[in-house]
């Protein structure tokens, strides 16, 4: 019998918790409790959840950097995929329930409304990330290319925040709050990048925590560096 890894409850627990919002939306819709404009309500809530998960996925690495916690990294892929999952539900609700698959109207919306255009772009950017989220895809792409592609994970939530700001009629405090969180998560990365990049090559220097020097070599779910991928051409 294989002994489970540390914290065997963590992933299943987060997985079930992450399904609570969609469960709540379906439950309230079924009972007619989504308010006077249920489709708009479901759209707003699904879109918000997509953004929350994308930000949560971006928070994993900084948590490790600052607190040395490795467990968030193990959740990162799942969180990102939940971001895609909610974005997909959001887009499907818009196309299916809101516009009833009126492709002409949807095309016009995407082309003419910048707020829908950026939201749609964010979704499109997430598709290749979800498609290459498996270990197999990582091997096929090679780590370097995979990692470059997955930098889109910084762009998609930024577009998501813009989409949110432009959607709101006046009070932008909520979207701006998410924007601040995103900005902080990105700034942390810039800071770490600058500190770990003095003239020489990546070396364990006194002022750089060992974690940052070889960020990918700890803990499990993290992609395996190219060197360790047999099929890698990266």
């Amino acid at each position: 019998m294989r002994r489970p890894g540390p914290l065997p409850w963590l992933k299943p627990g987060v997985f079930v918790g992450a399904l609570v919002p969609v469960g709540a939306i379906v439950w309230h819709a079924w009972r007619g409790e989504l308010g006077a404009n249920p489709i708009a309500q479901a759209l707003n809530q699904l879109g918000l959840m997509a953004l929350v998960f994308l930000l949560a996925a971006l928070a994993c690495t900084p948590l490790k950097t600052f607190f040395g916690w490795t467990w968030p990294i193990r959740l990162r892929r799942m969180l990102g995929l939940f971001g895609f999952f909610y974005a997909l539900l959001h887009v499907s609700t818009y196309a299916g329930l809101d516009q009833l698959f009126d492709w002409q109207a949807i095309r016009d919306d995407v082309a003419k409304r910048k707020f829908i255009f950026v939201g749609f772009s964010a979704f499109v950017l997430l598709v290749p990330l979800a498609a290459t989220s498996t270990s197999g895809a990582l091997k096929r792409l090679g780590y370097a290319r995979w990692k470059r592609l997955h930098r889109l994970a910084y762009v998609a939530p930024a577009l998501g925040v813009i989409h949110f700001v432009w959607r709101v009629k006046k009070d932008v405090s909520e979207p701006v709050a998410y924007g601040i969180v995103l900005g902080a998560l990105l700034l942390v990365r810039v800071g770490v990048h600058l500190r770990s990049r003095p003239p020489g090559r990546l070396q364990a220097r006194g002022n750089v925590p060992a974690d940052l020097v070889q960020p990918e070599r700890r803990e499990t779910d993290r992609p395996i560096p190219a060197a360790r991928c047999p099929g890698s051409r990266g």
Binding site: V16, A24, G35, A36
Partner: protein, 331 residues
């Protein structure tokens, strides 16, 4: 047969490893449950799903119970016979930023508004300006029921049985001077009663305006009730404007001042975003909001979007007011 049962089959015997690890199993089960509850609960909190639902029931119960019945003297030919939007929705899905920006906020927060006693000032270019209590005002005019479509600029709509009287009747009574070209309206400014006025989401107090010929049009009314009862606070008690061929934000709520003016008065949404909201704000499916289409709308309670009609279906009555005007420019 022996009364003592056979020993259980080997398959049912708890493996020793598991037996030994039952504490660990229980611990993991507890941590799993706590994690999913924590994650799920936090997400629900962010989503405000539970809050929206509670608001809705609060709004429903309170408004159903409370409001005073009004005596309706006559029904109007201007009423539509379209299916009414349920009272519950009309009174729980509101844009009234003085009580919060979420459409569920006003029904929850508007209890702090005290619609009686309530003084209304009519001033400016009038021969007989007035300062009076709203009760006195109500005594002047027989109340009519007007079932109107209400098209919000956010592309949803309702059908609401208002109770009120023509705005023009009131204006005639104060005898506008020849210089009266516009009518300006002002909402109460009192952060005690309207707590969100402490936040600068909009420039308070909310102000709106009409051209005098629009204000004198028989479709424009001052409403004091809906569904045969006094206006609930969240719908703009005790006195609000209803101009059914314009977007809903023109229907200024909880009015304390009506001023006849020579110049076009400022209007709140126009001040907030001039390229998005014009002074006229006539419902027009061919002039889109810069950020979304106005071609269709969702009638609250309906599944399919429906096409938006010019002037929200009141073109026959009001299109003349804008003869020769470029409605793309004067949106």
């Amino acid at each position: 047969m022996s009364k003592i049962g056979k020993s259980p089959p080997a398959s049912e015997i708890t493996p020793e490893v598991l037996y030994m690890r039952r504490r660990e199993f229980i611990r993991n089960a507890v941590l799993f449950t706590a994690t999913s509850a924590g994650v799920g609960g936090s997400l629900l909190w962010l989503m405000k799903g539970a809050r929206a639902e509670r608001k809705r029931s609060v709004g429903t119960d309170r408004t159903d119970a409370g409001e005073r019945e009004l005596t309706i003297a006559r029904h109007s030919n201007y009423s539509t016979d379209e299916l009414l939007t349920p009272y519950r929705d009309v009174t729980s899905y509101n844009n009234f930023y003085e009580f919060g920006t979420d459409k569920g906020d006003p029904s929850e927060n508007a209890r702090t508004l005290r619609p009686r006693p309530w003084t209304v000032t009519i001033e400016g270019e009038a021969h007989k300006p007035q300062v009076m209590d709203v009760e006195q005002l109500l005594g002047w005019f027989p109340l009519e029921e007007r079932v109107y479509r209400m098209r919000c600029v956010e592309a949803w709509s309702m059908v609401i049985p208002w109770v009120g009287f023509p705005l023009g009747d009131l204006l005639k009574r104060v005898e506008p001077t020849s210089r009266a070209k516009y009518v300006a309206f002002t909402t109460l400014l009192d952060p005690e009663q309207m707590p969100e006025q402490r936040r600068h989401v909009l420039d308070w107090p909310y102000v709106e305006g009409l051209r005098i010929d629009e204000a004198m049009h028989p479709l424009a009314i001052l409403a004091v009730g809906l569904y045969g009862k006094a206006l609930p606070n969240q719908n703009g008690a005790p006195l609000r404007l209803v101009v059914p061929w314009k977007y809903g934000f023109k229907g200024i709520k909880s009015i304390v001042k009506i001023r006849l003016t020579e110049e076009e008065p400022p209007t709140t949404w126009n001040l907030a975003a001039p390229h998005e909201y014009g002074f006229y704000a006539n419902v027009n499916p061919t002039v889109d909001h810069p950020r979304w289409s106005q071609a269709t709308e969702r009638r609250i309670g309906e599944f399919r979007r429906r096409p938006t009609l010019p002037f929200s279906g009141y073109a026959e009555q009001v299109a003349d007011l804008y003869a020769g005007m470029d409605l793309r420019r004067f949106f």
